[in-house]
Symmetry: C2
């Protein structure tokens, strides 16, 4: 797990992006910020900072923060307990994010997969999301995303989040490896 | 139904509040803004402006705009089709909103119900929401809300919206009376 010091630095930096986006969060939310580093130990490249606003049995809303070029690695949300898997809408609030899903591959992708892990990025249909733009992902759809040069703040609206069931393409990833406080 | 002219003026004014809140929406969303006036013909007092980001079978996200003192009248979201009714989280993004739900009544409420319709506001447990503050409402719970002196912008995260099933306390209200473009 990442050190407490790195966790704190990462949170502090993420809060600067929320400020840039004009998004207000409470002190409690700041103190509960989650940093996903997937057990890979290179959070600046492969990682995600998030504030979970609500996550009930029926729906969930989060704010995702991505540093410049930071990547959320390829994964899908499978069916669990007779439910069809998590459905997600990503809405860019600030900055720019490149989202990749199954479909016709882009010729010259704007995002660059993290070095040494290219083989674990297999879907290449590119969707560029600028502020105010959004995309709704059907359950169990492979996807990954990377922020542009300035970073990004993205609102996620979804059904219940159960991160422990997520399936990542990269076998080295431990989806439970995120740190909260 | 409200005139096209009033609809347009109301939308234009609502967009100014989104600007103040730093929330970016697309031109398409601007053009699809919904103004709920409930068939009462006094939208500045009893009404709501909204942009629906997503509304699938499973979840929904909206931005609600309230002018200073504007009121969303008391209603609840009943069970429909074996589902327990809409669950809603209101998150204040800008301004201030007073939300009223069942529970211990406040002695000196900050909101004032619209004149002549006081009897249709029956729940008086007061929740004040400032930017970054939120409240999650269980399905089928009576609620109403009113913006403070500066107005408010509120994100709503919820299960599927089916406004046509909403039950209002005020018998004069027609929940289907909202205008889109």
């Amino acid at each position: 797990m990442m050190s407490k010091e790195l966790y704190r630095e990462t949170c502090k930096r993420a809060l600067e992006y929320l400020d840039k986006a004009g998004i207000v969060v409470t002190d409690k939310e700041k103190n509960n910020m989650e940093v996903a580093e997937y057990g890979l130990g290179e959070v600046e490249k492969i990682g995600l900072e998030l504030i979970v606003y609500v996550n009930t049995d029926r729906c969930c809303a989060k704010e995702l923060i991505l540093f410049p070029g930071q990547t959320c690695p390829e994964h899908r949300h499978p069916p669990v307990d007779n439910e069809p898997g998590k459905e997600e809408t990503f809405r860019c609030r600030w900055g720019k994010v490149y989202l990749y899903v199954p479909g016709a591959s882009v010729q010259n992708p704007k995002a660059v997969p993290p070095k040494g892990r290219e083989q674990f990025f297999t879907v290449w249909h590119e969707i560029e999301l600028n502020p105010g733009e959004q995309y709704t992902l059907a359950p169990n759809t492979l996807h990954w995303f990377q922020a542009g040069n300035e970073g990004a703040v993205v609102s996620e609206f979804s059904t219940k989040s159960r991160d422990e069931f997520d399936i990542y393409t990269d076998p080295d990833i431990n989806p439970a490896q995120s740190r909260k406080a």
